[in-house]
């Protein structure tokens, strides 16, 4: 809980309005939102655990399960859709064996689709952690993913 101490020390009078930034910092630190940490946040901020759970499950960004080392984000925005985005998503599923929203058993990849990455000129585009790969075809996908061991 030391990381949580660090996060909450910055906000001595943390209340409901600070909840989302706190959760974002926890996720950045731990990689996901561990349940014991959330219970501790509830104790220290006075926000009901049920409310925290409601917020954590509403927003797409928050994850209550541990994630893989690499997050593969496949853009499903309009420009990507029109330039073959769904085929890229299928190619990723085939290559790593999981559907969007899931993590591979060896904890190597977590696969997500994102509504729009804002790089429409690269359509269709994916991100692996902070690396962008654009102008893709389904055939290029396996080779890109193999670079991440």
């Amino acid at each position: 809980m030391e990381s949580l101490d660090g996060i909450l020390d910055d906000k001595p009078n943390a209340g409901p309005s600070d909840l989302i930034p706190i959760l974002q910092q926890i996720q950045a630190e731990y990689g996901y939102l561990p349940k014991p940490v959330l219970m501790e946040v509830s104790k220290r901020t006075g926000v009901a655990a049920s409310k925290i759970y409601g917020v954590a499950t509403f927003y797409e960004q928050f994850c209550l399960e541990p994630r893989g080392r690499y997050t593969v984000k496949c853009c499903r925005g309009t420009a990507c859709h029109v330039r073959g985005g769904p085929d890229i998503a299928e190619a990723i599923s085939r290559a790593i064996g999981v559907e969007p929203g899931d993590t591979t058993e060896d904890m190597r990849f977590t696969f997500e689709t994102v509504a729009c990455l804002g790089t429409c000129f690269l359509a269709p585009v994916i991100m692996v952690n902070n690396d962008y790969y654009g102008n893709l075809t389904a055939g290029k996908v396996p080779e890109i993913l193999e670079r991440y061991t």
């Binding site: 209340g15 409901p16 309005s17 600070d18 909840l19 989302i20 930034p21 959760l23 974002q24 926000v47 409310k51 409601g54 917020v55 509403f58 927003y59 797409e60 960004q61 928050f62 499903r76 925005g77 309009t78 420009a79 990507c80 859709h81 029109v82 330039r83 085929d87 299928e90 190619a91 085939r94 994102v114 509504a115 729009c116 990455l117 804002g118 790089t119 429409c120 000129f121 690269l122 359509a123 585009v125 902070n130 962008y132 654009g134 075809t137 389904a138 055939g139």
Partner: protein, 614 residues
């Protein structure tokens, strides 16, 4: 960090003069886009430039500037070289030596890196059609400054309009000037901005808030991203002016988490503005206090809706609230709150600098100023386009956009994201403004403009938007939560060849009801893509339903890939098939195993002999 303290407009002007003088020492500037272009290697190009210029002792009079979006994203990585304004595209580290030799030493363009028009190189930016036909006012600094240096923005006049306004005008005068300009909200709904400010100004109470909606959730929209990454001080300046006008001392910028570079650049900009008293207590020597906090979104499209956004900042699930009361009366923590879009704030300095009259000379009768569009899809020149309101769709897609990829015929332009509609070819000469666009069944939206060709299935597009809206619906009201699900079910059955004409009638009826009964803009506009595609592309729906065919070749359940007798047995399809569904000997007609085929279409794409049908 600069140690300047701005205590009056004279301080600011003096600083600007000093910065202009010191900038004059550079005889050339190499401007490299470091926002979107980063994705295609711009960092390596910039690093190589700095390294080589250092080795050649040319850094004293040549500046390498990492800028925001230069606009013509289709040729990324993009570079602009001043003072000649040579525009180079697809620049790689290996090109650096030639650019230094040819351009920086000999003032000549490197033609092979220039944009080609009618097969000839066009080297100067203003000669390139993409730019020559735009009017870049709000985007004037993007691509010309390092967004991480406040000095660059100040040198080009940043904050002058705001400081003048807060030291020489009253809040009511600022409100009236904004009303007179005719500025309408750039987030999509187009409500008159000055009037919105007036409501907040008139609400009783000392505690008021200002929020910048930087959630930019529309898929296909990246205008706000470019502004925040490329010219953050412009947005901050607009916010200071608005806060003064309505009487707010605290502001938020709610930016979506998917924009990490924007978050980074805004943070730097806020720190720098505070350090020189352009933000915080006693701004510019006045007695006006205003500061801004960044809040990041957490991946919910509905939080672009103003009441849901407020709920999110309050730490709750992003669920909209009934209006009235409007945020101007009761918003964040129940206090009067004014929310505007990024581009709206970015227009404000222009109005205060040149006056409402000058601003309103551009645009149409009821839609003043310019609009930034994010042009994407099946168009040659994808990127950021700023044009006066009233510019035709044809001009944007063909003159600026360069026309459709592979010169195919234009099928539709999708405008307004999931709240918008698809505009068919017959309306190419529509003069785009808030009202004209509504008449042809779309909405202006935030500015995402996706061009579509014959390979886009309009039924699939409607299904795609509904799938998006269904997953983003907050779930609070029944018409949206259940209604969009039922609409999606019908669209999926149409795409699977299992629907009847009665289903189409049900779809249309449902659409009308959901529009009227939903609690917020998400539900109220969710049926728009369906209504506009059924109206403008009804034949495609009928073909899916009655003939179980998808003419664009997209809906997989209605496709069957087959290899014809003309096949020469080259094996290209067999090699590219990801599931090894194709068999055949060399020079013999190949065969697709229909049980294995996943209908990905790769064989169809790769066949050079037109031997595959679907």
């Amino acid at each position: 960090m600069s140690d300047k303290q701005i205590k009056s407009i004279d301080d600011l002007v003096a600083w600007q003069e000093a910065l202009k003088k010191s900038a004059a020492r550079y005889r050339a500037r190499v401007l490299i886009c470091m926002t979107g272009c980063r994705a295609l290697g711009a960092q390596d190009v910039a690093a190589r430039f700095k390294e080589r210029l250092g080795e050649l002792n040319m850094t004293d009079d040549i500046a390498v500037v990492e800028t925001g979006c230069i606009g013509m994203c289709a040729i990324a990585p993009v570079m602009l070289i001043e003072p000649w304004d040579y525009l180079y595209g697809h620049v790689a580290p290996d090109d650096v030596d030639e650019i230094i030799e040819q351009t920086l030493k000999n003032s000549k363009p490197v033609e092979r890196l220039a944009v080609k028009q009618d097969d000839a190189p066009v080297c100067a930016k203003s000669d390139v059609n993409f730019y020559g036909k735009q009017k870049q006012l709000v985007l004037e600094n993007c691509g010309r400054i390092d967004p991480r240096r406040i000095e660059d923005a100040i040198e080009r006049g940043a904050y002058a309009a705001a400081i003048t306004a807060i030291t020489e005008k009253t809040p009511d005068e600022v409100v009236e000037e904004t009303i007179a300009s005719g500025l309408r909200g750039r987030g999509g709904a187009g409500f008159p901005t000055g009037v919105k400010w007036k409501f907040a100004r008139q609400s009783p109470g000392e505690e008021k808030y200002l929020i910048c909606n930087a959630d930019e959730g529309d898929p296909g929209a990246f205008m706000d991203r470019a502004l925040l990454e490329g010219d953050p001080h412009r947005v901050i300046e607009g916010m200071i002016t608005a806060a003064y006008a309505i009487g707010a001392n605290k502001g938020f910028i709610y930016v979506r988490a998917e924009y990490p570079i924007a978050v980074e650049h805004i943070n730097i900009a806020l720190d720098q503005a505070r350090a020189c008293r352009l933000l915080g207590d006693g701004i510019g020597g006045s007695d006006f206090n205003f500061d801004i906090e960044i809040r990041m979104g957490a991946g919910a499209f509905v939080c672009g809706e103003e009441t849901a956004l407020i709920a999110s900042i309050e730490g709750s699930r992003g669920m909209p609230r009934p209006r009235p009361p409007f945020p101007a009366v009761s918003g964040y923590l129940g206090k009067p709150t004014n929310i505007n879009n990024v581009e709206t704030f970015a227009n404000v300095p222009l109005i205060l600098k040149n006056g409402a009259k000058a601003y309103s000379r551009i645009g149409t009768e009821k839609s003043k100023g310019t609009k930034i569009f994010a042009l994407a899809g099946k168009v040659k020149n994808t990127g950021l386009v700023e044009v006066p309101m009233g510019t035709t769709l044809r001009r944007i897609v063909y003159d600026i956009g360069g026309g459709i990829l592979d010169d195919k015929p234009f099928k539709a332009a999708q405008l307004g994201g999931p709240s918008g509609g698809c505009i068919p070819a017959e309306y190419l000469d529509c003069e785009i403004d808030y009202d004209s666009v509504q008449q042809i069944g779309a909405i202006m939206g935030s500015g995402g403009l996706i061009v579509m060709d014959e390979e886009t299935c309009m039924v699939d597009i409607a299904r795609y938007f509904l799938e998006f809206v269904q997953s983003e619906s907050c779930g609070k009201c029944t018409p949206c939560r259940v209604g969009t699900k039922k609409m999606l079910d019908i669209l999926e059955s149409i795409c699977a060849g299992q629907a009847t004409m009665d289903d189409l009638a049900t779809l249309e009826r449902l659409a009308e009801d959901i529009k009227k009964a939903s609690l917020c803009g998400l539900g109220q506009t969710a049926p728009n893509p369906v209504l506009s595609t059924v109206k403008n592309f009804r034949d495609e729906y009928v073909e899916h339903i009655e003939e179980k065919k998808c003419p664009a070749g997209v809906c997989k359940d209605l496709l069957g890939y087959e290899i014809l007798e003309v096949c020469v047995g080259c094996g290209a399809c067999r090699r590219v098939c990801p599931v090894d569904a194709i068999t055949g000997e060399k020079k013999e007609v190949h065969v697709i195993d229909q049980d294995k085929c996943i209908k990905c279409g790769q064989c169809f794409t790769v066949c050079k002999f037109e031997a595959i049908t679907r």
